[in-house]
Symmetry: C2
Subunit: 346 residues, 2 copies
Amino acid sequence: MDVCFSVMITSKQIAEMAGVSRGTVDRVINNRGIVKDSTRSRIEKIIRLLNYKPSRAGKVLVSHQKKIKIGCIIIKAPNPFYDDLYRGIMLKVEEYSSYGIEVIVERVDFFCEAQCQAIDFLLSQGINALVIQPINEPPVAEKLVNLEKQGLPVVTTNTDIEEFKPICHVGNDFFTCGKTAANLFDLITEEKCNIGIVTGFHKARSHSDRIDGFREYVKDKPEMRILAIEENLDDDIESFAVTRKLISLYPEMDALFLVAGGVYGAGRALKSFSGRRIKTICFDDVPTTRELIRDGTILAAICQQPVRQGTLSLEVLFEYLIDNKRPEKDELYTDIQIKLKSNLDL
Amino acid sequence: MDVCFSVMITSKQIAEMAGVSRGTVDRVINNRGIVKDSTRSRIEKIIRLLNYKPSRAGKVLVSHQKKIKIGCIIIKAPNPFYDDLYRGIMLKVEEYSSYGIEVIVERVDFFCEAQCQAIDFLLSQGINALVIQPINEPPVAEKLVNLEKQGLPVVTTNTDIEEFKPICHVGNDFFTCGKTAANLFDLITEEKCNIGIVTGFHKARSHSDRIDGFREYVKDKPEMRILAIEENLDDDIESFAVTRKLISLYPEMDALFLVAGGVYGAGRALKSFSGRRIKTICFDDVPTTRELIRDGTILAAICQQPVRQGTLSLEVLFEYLIDNKRPEKDELYTDIQIKLKSNLDL
DNA sequence: CTGAAAGCGCTTACAG
DNA sequence: CTGAAAGCGCTTACAG
């Protein structure tokens, strides 16, 4: 029988053992102020010996005297995917507000200027840290670079931005997502398929990364052929049109890879060709997609845990502000989940 | 632009506004002691108005005066799956010990008596709550029933036990797991397959639930045929033997469903028939299985997030002890994850 | 270079 | 029925 006990040590105990005050122990632990070398090493030895870890609760309580504020900026758009990210953030907002940490959440339109304004507004509110789902434009990057210069930690969530390095990016490994999609096509078509691809924007990195990952996988599979790639601008009407075009143009097409938005429109297009059987895989779990999976139009969705992305982003900043700890990696990826009809509802 | 502010309210503020002491506010919030009806309703109104939520940090700090102890009993066995559950538990143990909550973790052999002894030991240590991965035997159930009678909350994790109702069971929906396996076979075999099944124990509920879920899915698919079900007693050597037997006995077998342990043994059997191509799906992500997925012997593993099961179990008890809050559901299921070669390493 | 005191938000005896 | 005080573990001025 293996037993493991965990007992709590407090800074008071450390202080008593070292024959000093708690203030001095604090100075050693957090490297503030000057401590005589001999006392410092005596205290450090005891800390190591007892594996002392300061109480989170105590720290949080003190932090309340500092009136910590965290700002969040996420994109406002009719896509219910964004609601999940928002939900994840709000879960933590509630928790943290009970910890005495104020959070200000802004949902802004998909415009560069709107996002810049939101940043300025949050600054005027005196935030100490920022979570942002950034629009990939130079003016936004510039503002973020300035924030970090002022020592204000920034976490980017869900999407990345060039020309700026946050303390941590929380998101999804788009390349591996694309590879996973190809892996799944491989299995469900027994390595032989003629694939049509409908992407959102050629220029959107998240979309092109998924396609790159997909290509990486199929490059060793001569019988998995990519017929064509079309753009749907993440728009359902456009998606309907280009998907129909692909299906008519390529009678041999038996697989459809939906890289981005417009899944509903593509689904409608698929249904309008009732004679054709086209195996389809898409990304992200939104209500209209669920419906298409249930009725068999789409076989699988590859999902990225948007709720988790929201909560994780705030957790990173919490650790940074309260425990003064940077995340271990500068990229934190959520799981790549494959959802079929059977494991859709959980 | 939508903005959402979250500001913290304290019991001190409530007290001031209601013109009472913090003690009285506490009495109202936690229903302890008697409060004059008029003061109570005045305080309650303010609490509702400001949406007051007591500070977690404050509560945790107070709880330290009560010396809370949580006991954990998990099964000790050479299966690395159990190490993941242990790891999940240890993650929270570290966190909670910094909160002043003591946790005692015991890993005990897969024997009814060993588990009963472990329960007695933890009781003698004065635990206030228990997490257990129970062995499904009446003596264990009896002990657990007694604990709950004494008001000691119990959470079962990973596996269930009959004749005892915990405040919450954290685990996996085995039935839906089985359905998902069948769904995946459906996709990768284009609805036509002759399936051999190798289970662990016919009597183990988790194993038979998976098979029931599987059957539920294939019952509408006349071309997905189950050829036979064999037991491998979760043992690799036995697994090797029965898998070989199935493959030789059924030349038409082109799919293999591995329901429980012994995946490595079954993998070796598959490799020994190099001429046959048998599509194989199994459960759980352990090192030997990863190897078989990488080399293509196994196409997919359906996984149950054992680490998450460990952390979640302790989180439930934490909420119960600190916030006096029961979990919303009495069954908390972790996600059903499908892992292929491409999304195995994350 | 170091210590004593006050305070973060909550609950727990105790006093009235 | 209600209030004042002490204390949980930590950090922050302030004093020496």
